[in-house]
Amino acid sequence: MSAAINPVPFNQAARRADFPLLSREVNGKPLVYFDNANTAQKPQRVIGTVDDFYRRHNANVSRSVHTLGEEATAAYEGTRDKLAQFINAPSREEVVFTSGTTNAINLVAYSYAQPRLKPGDTILVTQMEHHANIVPWQLVCERTGAKLKVAPITPEGELIVERFVELLTPDVKLAAVVHVSNVIGTVNPVAELARACKSRGIPLLVDGSQAAPHLAIDVQALGCDFYAITGHKMFGPTGTGALWAKREHLEAMPPFFGGGEMIRAVSFERTVFADPPHKFEAGTPNIAGFVGLGAAIDYIGEVGIDNIRKYESELLAYATDALRSVAGLRLFGQAREKAAVLSFLIDGVHAHDLATLLDQEGVAVRSGHHCAHPLMQFYGVPATARASLAFYNTRDEVDRFVAALEKVRRLLM
């Protein structure tokens, strides 16, 4: 409200203009891009940074001593500093670059969980997890004889915190929770869950894929042990992401991938590994991608994450009201703390038909299971349609979306 709280002035129209793709037409209509939870669009600054990297600075970061190599290394490692600051990590060395959240969680599954788990142990997840925060644990359970436990949610899509806490019994060796649901937008009370885990000595992994583009992240305030993010959802290039983990975990974890860059010395008899984070970063990374991710972080900082959150929550309220006016529309997920993600169905209309027909009107929404089969099973539907909004979306777009929905409904009825 006051300048002290929101110091960065927010000019939504100017910000929207930063995204070249948003001026595209689809099927002869101006695009309404409401598939942001799937992947976000990129601002000119990110696109231009990648372009400029390839045009002027491209080199490998593998310890080249030439000028191009030093420029590339400085830009690439600069992103580690930016990311550490973005999530308020205590140290840049705790930020491990990965190709995305899926890679980050699998790294924890193979390198942290696997050596620790034995039959009788469990991993606790929730009913609203993305497959990326289910299947790696199923696979490690299969390899170790451990089991998965599932914390239940309410029909509104809120985690039942007391049940979660009750399930934190001594057999639980790791808890893994999504920060913001990609299907129903629920923002989980991570700090509260982390306190409960911590007092029982259980490490907590947080899947922050959907949080990073929408709200301020402070891993120290959250109090978790692992935090995973993915670059392409936070306006950065595809093929980028990170795992933040407490130093003590990274130091205790054995290396995962073997290769260049993660060693101190190799001989056929004995190989000595580098310190974290490089121990976990074998091979040539997605250099241009991470340089672009640095630009995305700068960009978010410039827009102001608090401006984003405030604007999006107003847009969410507007869109929720607008959707409620559509006859026969069922909304999934009504958590009190909720990001701008709206999953829905219209009575008698299949999600795919909705998505295809909305696309004919220029409106891009996702339909399907959203990589969250268990949540679909919870709601007893095979699929939903999902509109997921970003700060560059507008009320006018919401209006066009709702008008298109009405048109589709009439056609299919």
Binding site: N27, G28, H350, A351, H352, D353, T356, L357, D359, Q360, E361, S367, G368, H369, H373, M376, P382, A383, K407, V408, L411, L412
Partner: protein, 149 residues
């Protein structure tokens, strides 16, 4: 609406009132089909006599494309034998790929030629075929995964 080319009147009509919908008592063959794109499920039950389809019914919750395709298919293949159905399926697959095909033989099913422009939805129209073929072959289940773009 410009999608009227895909969701044209006869497709919508088959979706609203599918022919041969339901279960078939005393069926000789049956199979369950799944579309991994969305988790949709479809069931075909058939009565085969003398190698020809004497009757068939389908059920399951699916999108309009799948239901209309299943409905049209059910009408088109009644009375045919496996070889004729396989030949027709080849024509249908060619149609979806945009390759030359015998539209007359396909009859109403030719409506799905519009799917050339909707590659992600092709599986929806292929699911009934995959399920029917599985049933004829004595398989219990089918998926369209291999047919995905």
């Amino acid at each position: 609406m410009s999608a009227a080319d895909l969701y044209r009147e006869n497709v919508l009509a088959h979706n609203r009132e599918p022919r041969n919908h339901g279960a078939l008592d005393a069926h000789t063959h049956a199979a369950d089909g799944a579309n991994p794109l969305c988790g949709d499920a479809l069931r075909f039950e058939l009565r085969v006599a003398d190698g020809h389809i004497a009757a068939l019914r389908f059920s399951g919750e699916s999108c309009a494309i799948t239901i209309a395709a299943a409905s049209m298919l059910s009408e088109r293949v009644t009375g045919l034998d496996a070889a004729a159905i396989a030949a027709l399926r080849a024509q249908f697959d060619a149609l979806l790929r945009g390759d030359p095909c015998d539209r007359d033989a396909l009859g109403e099913l030719a409506a799905f030629g519009e799917l050339v422009r909707y590659p992600a939805r092709r599986q929806c129209a292929q699911l009934p075929w995959a399920t029917l073929t599985a049933a004829l072959n004595g398989a219990a289940s089918a998926t369209t995964e291999k047919d995905s773009p």
